[in-house]
């Protein structure tokens, strides 16, 4: 019987079969990459805000503490967003005529809140508590990045579960003394020895149960 397939079909079939493995691998790798990309996680994306509030100016430039505005960060799951009146504490005295601040004044006069664009958002099935992290020596910067260098705030971390677990499995890599929590520029001299010490001192547990966050 005459051969139906040309000899090259052998090579072709081998390439196809083994190639398929690589192809499937590539597709999986690509999907993995995409879901971790800023396209999905919103990492690094600036949000247009009604007032172009600059953390860089207020934090680094003026030295205002995080807690001046985010008042409940040490007490509650929610760090808190400053009410218009907090802005007006200063801006009723300075830059009273700045055009940029018109929405703030309008809000204060009319009683209608400023509608900010949300930057950090977790899905509804995840429960995150700011206060316990702050109280256990996790600095703002560990998740939010160098806010003091941002003009418009963007999400510095991917906020994926994988990223959360990196720290929950090894808190010693990120923990810092409680008094340095709000110091965005703090860098430990020797995290490798300090980290485990603080973990012990603050009685930090490696909580990786599902119900730590999901309930």
């Amino acid at each position: 019987m005459a051969q139906i397939f040309h000899r090259s079909a052998n090579t072709l079939s081998r390439v196809t079969i083994f190639g398929a493995i690589f192809f499937v691998g590539f597709v999986l790798w690509a999907i993995g990459g995409i879901v971790r990309s800023p396209y999905f996680t919103n990492q690094g994306i600036h949000r247009e805000q009604p007032v172009p509030f600059s953390h860089q100016h207020h934090v680094a430039g003026l030295g205002i503490d995080c807690r001046y505005c985010h008042t409940s960060v040490e007490k509650s799951s929610f760090a808190g967003l400053p009410p218009t009146s907090t802005c007006m504490n200063c801006h009723s005295q300075i830059w009273t005529n700045a055009e940029m601040l018109e929405p703030v004044r309008a809000s204060f006069a009319s009683g209608k809140p400023i509608v900010w664009s949300r930057v950090h958002r977790l899905p509804d099935f995840v429960h995150f508590n700011h206060s316990i992290h702050v109280n256990k020596g996790i600095g703002c910067v560990s998740c939010h990045g160098r806010i003091d260098t941002m003009n418009l705030v963007y999400q510095a971390s991917p906020l994926t579960m994988e990223w959360c677990l990196d720290c929950h499995r090894a808190p010693e890599k990120h923990i810092r003394p409680r008094e340095e929590v709000f110091n965005l520029a703090y860098v430990a001299k020797d995290q490798a020895t300090l980290g485990p010490e603080l973990v012990k001192k603050y009685n930090v547990q490696k909580l990786t149960s599902c119900s730590t966050c999901h309930y």
Binding site: R47, T84, V115, W116, H127, I132, H214
Partner: protein
């Protein structure tokens, strides 16, 4: 099916010669073991085998698919921008993300029950009992819990209406003026109709109104009337009084048709006090109280009685007279049956002088109440266990007479204006008053109510009423303690309070409810400091009414009731939707009724023999699909014919039937009357003014045709002893037995399956719970089956309702169910309640079978359910021996109704379709407590984590805590000799365990208990 039968446990038992009789049983169907029942039980998961019957036609399928494709496209985009909105001026003391609690009070039947309301960013989300309030002591009942859903109910009335059209408050005020002007000269032309009122400030305003319009009359009507109690008190004490009880001191309690543990003012307190005497704990010398119940239907109180005597409602009086006679009072007409029983009861009472209570039920005539008072007086209970005060109510009156007077005057043409504050008299007035027709003769009719209901529909004017969480007010508790009610939220739907309507009627007083309540109390001794303290505490200190030195009349009223032939019916308000006011509350509709476990319906209850007599015998019933279907019966009672579904319930008195009113609302809202079709049956036409609570002479015959589906949850998720064997799922004993052998409930006495050795071995390496080990103990002695826990869980955990059709398919989502078990003869079995939440097994069978690890173990030993991981294989629920997992077959959670969004607990995820859910031990509360403790560098203290069910439980039957802490309450209870695990021999090591039920029957009356209740009993 037939293949499975060959392998059934019954055959297996037969083969190994196991002939131990069945002791506990759950339903008549189980007892009779019909073919249909066996088939039903063989389908272990009918909720899964049923097709997805919410059919989708081709057209909608294409539409949905089209939408899905579009959505899939959208979902692929990065997250849409989300807004975040701060305050302009943030309120002081508000910490965003942390709930605040406010004290207030809810009234039902006029009486206050103190509440603590959880408020997230000033949105009330959950109601708890106020620990400082004498009526609740921190507990809560189903109505309190579910009232939060009423607040957000999108079907609440939202505008003032004139002839059904949108109008305004000021137009109403101007329309009211001519009527008021007329009343200035002729006060009698203006009438006010209210429900029972205990509010001092509202009472003062009504007095003022009556002074403004001399001759004006104030009428009262509550469908769940307490007239018998009022009149009984008057017979005994010569004037209206209020009675409340101290059950902590009562060694013997006799209930004459009273459901004091689960109904009426103060029932939560009574349940706590009563059950405080039933906590049998090792190492404590104690006496256990004893409860005798003489009643017709099985009430929650009767279900936990040590001795229960089912008698026709009209016979209760005879037994009351027999007890009185036995105690030496002159009472004729005493019952002569059950003389032994009564004799033993009387001797028991005599030995507990000053330490007993005889309490009569609302449905019993005034004479029975008078007899109860006389007995209590004769026993020296007055002032000790029975406390008499001046009336708690404002303007105490015979409400039936009051309404009758109104009807008479309307018919005489004397009434020109009728203002109705709350209530729904068109729906719930006695049938023979013909109120619907009569009251339309009044030229000016206005109705203040939360819903545009049957009464509003027939009034020219309707004013939306505020919910109790939206307005200021005050009310008295069962002992007279005053609570100031403060609003948690501004009126959502432009509602007005009764106080505002009254202010408008008095005229010249443009008072807000706040001003009215505040000015009343400042005129009555409040200072700025005390006012703030009252608001904070939720009670006005020392405002309980003082005890009255009252001597009850020992004269027993003469016999009045004549016995009539035919079946006797008893009319009662529905246990979950009350008089119909909660008919639009989905939580309460879907809540299984405490004893019958029926949801979404009012069926007629009767005993098995009566069922035989009306032609609905065992043979007829066996043809029906067990616990899901029933037949209709034609009821002919005093000229009213009605076709009602009939339901047979063990323990119901024979020759009588219980009919519940409250259902059959035509204008209740989308839940109560979907598309204008009422759910359930309106039985108010059977309520006559001379027989408000039913009477004799009913002809009942089962109807030839028609099968009615009933959503009864009793056999849902049941652990079938046919498959698992008699392994002591319920364990019960007497106090005597306990004293002889405290370990009577241990496994060796409840022979587990012969083929199975109890072993501690496991395939998995042992796990050390270093930090906490959360655990729960449920004392089944204390559970009355009241359902407070079930609905507290629903509220706390955002549990969706599924509707009657889906309940019939066993797809209800309640994380906690209360199993009801019977023991003994069907005519009067003992009843046992067993709440079953997730057992949180240490070696949980659900965990290894999950293909995606959506259910896993936490370091505290919790059996976590991770919703976002769940793909809906349902393997876990198939593998759960306790059947505590619930699956969202459809999109049950209402994501769309805007009004319901603020109601939900923000700390708990709302589950979507295709996701398994179950009890989490309120992990959100656990985590919250852990975080707060960690912040202070300490361990969680015992009692800091309180689960929702535990918090609601009036009898403290549920205890939760950390087993690793040897001093915790839960660890102590686990050491009790009566502690047992459900199906412990499966080696699941459940964290939830039970304390066996201990009852305290009178040794005189204990006969050799029938070992088994097999089918031949019936």
């Amino acid at each position: 099916m037939s293949d499975q039968k060959e392998l059934s446990f019954a055959d297996f038992r037969a083969r190994i010669g196991d002939q131990r009789p069945r002791e506990f049983w759950r339903s008549l169907e189980e007892l009779s073991r019909s073919e249909v029942f066996d088939e039903f039980m063989a389908q272990e998961f009918p909720q899964q085998s049923l097709p997805l019957q919410k059919g989708v036609d081709r057209r909608s399928f294409m539409k949905l698919m089209g939408a899905s494709v579009t959505m899939a496209g959208l979902a692929a985009c990065s997250q849409p921008a989300d807004a975040i909105v701060p305050y302009v001026n943030q309120p002081e003391n508000l910490i965003p993300g942390k709930p605040i609690y406010f004290a207030s009070a809810m009234t039902l039947g006029g009486y206050a029950q103190g509440v603590l309301v959880e408020s997230h960013m000033y949105r009330p989300t959950k109601i708890e009992g106020n620990p400082d309030h004498p009526s609740t002591l921190g507990a809560s009942d189903a109505f309190m819990q579910a009232s939060i859903l009423d607040l957000y109910d999108p079907d609440r009335s939202q505008v003032v209406r004139k002839y059904g059209d949108t109008s305004t408050w000021s137009e109403f005020i101007s329309a009211l003026q001519p009527v008021l002007n007329g009343a200035r000269t002729n006060g009698g032309s203006l009438r006010l109709l209210t429900q029972t009122i205990t509010s001092p400030s509202l009472g003062a305003q009504i007095q003022r109104l009556l002074q403004t319009y001399p001759g004006m009359r104030w009428h009262q009507w509550d469908a769940v009337t307490r007239d018998n109690i009022r009149e009984g008190g008057r017979l005994a004490f010569g004037g209206y009084v209020s009675t409340h009880y101290d059950f902590t001191k009562a060694d013997v309690v006799v209930s004459l048709g009273s459901d004091f543990l689960d109904d009426g003012p103060g029932h939560l307190r009574y349940a706590r006090d009563f059950m405080s005497r039933r906590k049998v704990r090792a190492g404590e010398t104690q006496t256990v109280n004893r409860l005798y119940a003489i009643e017709s239907g099985v009430s929650s109180t009767g279900s936990v009685a040590d001795h229960r005597l089912p008698v026709k409602p009209s016979q209760v009086e005879g037994y009351a007279r027999a007890i009185a006679t036995g105690l030496g009072l002159a009472a004729d007409g005493a019952a002569t049956d059950n003389a032994n029983w009564i004799g033993a009861l009387v001797r028991d009472l005599q030995s507990k002088r000053g330490r007993s209570v005889v309490i009569a039920g609302d449905e019993q005539p005034a004479a029975v109440h008078a007899i109860a008072h006389a007995i209590n007086a004769a026993l020296g209970n007055l002032g000790s266990t029975v406390l008499i005060t001046d009336p708690v109510e404002v303007g105490t009156t015979n409400q039936l007479a009051s309404l009758a007077e109104l009807v008479r005057d309307i018919n005489a043409g004397a009434v020109k204006g009728l203002i109705i504050l709350g209530g729904n008299p068109v729906f719930d007035a006695p049938a023979d008053f013909n109120f619907k027709q009569v009251f339309q003769k009044v030229p000016f009719r206005a109705h203040l109510s939360m819903r545009y209901d049957e009464t509003s529909n027939l009034c020219q004017w309707h004013i939306p009423e505020t919910h109790f969480l939206e307005t200021w007010g005050d009310a008295r508790a069962h002992d007279g303690t005053v609570s100031i009610m403060q609003p948690l939220i501004a009126p959502l739907y432009n509602g007005r309070a009764a106080i505002e309507v009254l202010s408008a009627m008095i005229g010249g007083l443009d008072q807000t409810p706040y001003q009215a309540v505040r000015s009343y109390w400042f005129a009555n001794g409040a200072t700025e400091d005390s006012w703030r303290k009252w608001l904070h505490d939720g009670v006005v200190a020392n405002s309980a009414l003082p005890q009255r030195a009252a001597a009850a009349s020992m004269a027993i009223p003469p016999v009045q009731r004549a016995t009539v032939s035919g079946i006797e019916i008893e009319l009662r308000h529905d246990p979950t939707i009350y008089d119909g006011r909660f008919a639009n509350n989905g939580w309460l509709q879907e809540l299984p009724k405490p004893q019958s476990k029926i949801t979404w319906d009012n069926v007629m209850l009767m005993g098995p023999k009566t069922a035989d007599a009306i032609g609905f015998g065992k043979e007829e019933r066996e043809k029906l699909f067990n616990e899901k279907q029933t037949r209709f019966a034609d009821v002919n009672y005093r000229g009213v014919s009605m076709r009602l579904p009939v339901w047979v319930i063990p323990g119901h008195s024979e020759g009588s039937a219980t009919i519940f009113f409250g259902y059959g609302r035509t204008q209740g809202g989308r839940i109560a009357s979907p598309e204008g079709q009422p759910i359930g049956f309106n039985t108010y036409p059977m309520r006559f003014s001379n027989a408000l609570h039913g009477g004799a002479g009913a002809q009942i015959r089962v109807a030839e045709a028609g099968i009615y589906p009933v959503a009864c949850t009793q056999e849902h998720q049941s652990i079938d002893p046919k498959d698992v064997g008699e392994r002591g799922i319920v364990r019960a004993g007497t106090f005597e037995q306990y004293k002889k052998d405290p370990t009577f409930a241990q496994d060796e006495h409840h022979g587990s399956d012969p083929g199975m050795e109890h072993t501690e071995d496991s395939m998995y390496p042992p796990f050390a719970y270093k930090q906490h080990a959360w655990a729960m103990v449920i004392d089944t002695s204390l559970c009355t089956g009241c359902n407070g826990c079930v609905i507290a869980c629903q509220s706390e955990n955002n549990i969706a309702i599924v509707g009657k059709e889906e309940v019939v398919r066993e797809r209800e989502l309640h994380w906690l169910r209360i199993d009801r078990y019977y023991r003994g003869d069907v005519s009067n079995p003992e009843v046992f309640h067993e709440p079953v939440p997730c057992m949180q097994c240490e070696l949980a069978p659900c965990e290894p079978v999950c293909p995606v690890e959506a259910t896993s173990h936490s370091e505290d030993g919790l059996n976590d359910m991770t919703y976002n991981r769940c793909v809906g294989t349902r393997y876990c629920s198939n593998n759960c021996p306790y059947k505590v997992r619930r699956f969202n077959f459809f999109h049950y959670a209402d994501y769309d109704t805007p009004a319901l969004k603020p109601m939900r607990n923000p700390d708990v995820t709302i589950r979507t379709r295709g996701v398994m859910e179950k009890c989490t031990y309120c992990v959100q509360r656990v985590n919250h407590a852990k975080i707060e403790a960690e912040k202070q560098d300490r361990r969680v203290r015992d009692g800091e984590v309180v689960t929702a069910c535990q918090q609601a439980c009036p009898t403290e039957a549920i205890v939760f805590g950390d087993m690793n802490d040897p001093n915790s309450k839960v660890a102590q209870l686990k050491k009790q000799p009566t502690n047992f695990a459900l199906l412990g021999e499966l080696n699941t090591r459940p964290r939830t365990t039970y304390l066996a039920t201990i009852r305290n029957p009178n040794p005189e009356l204990v006969v050799a208990a029938p070992a088994a209740a097999e089918a031949e009993h019936h």
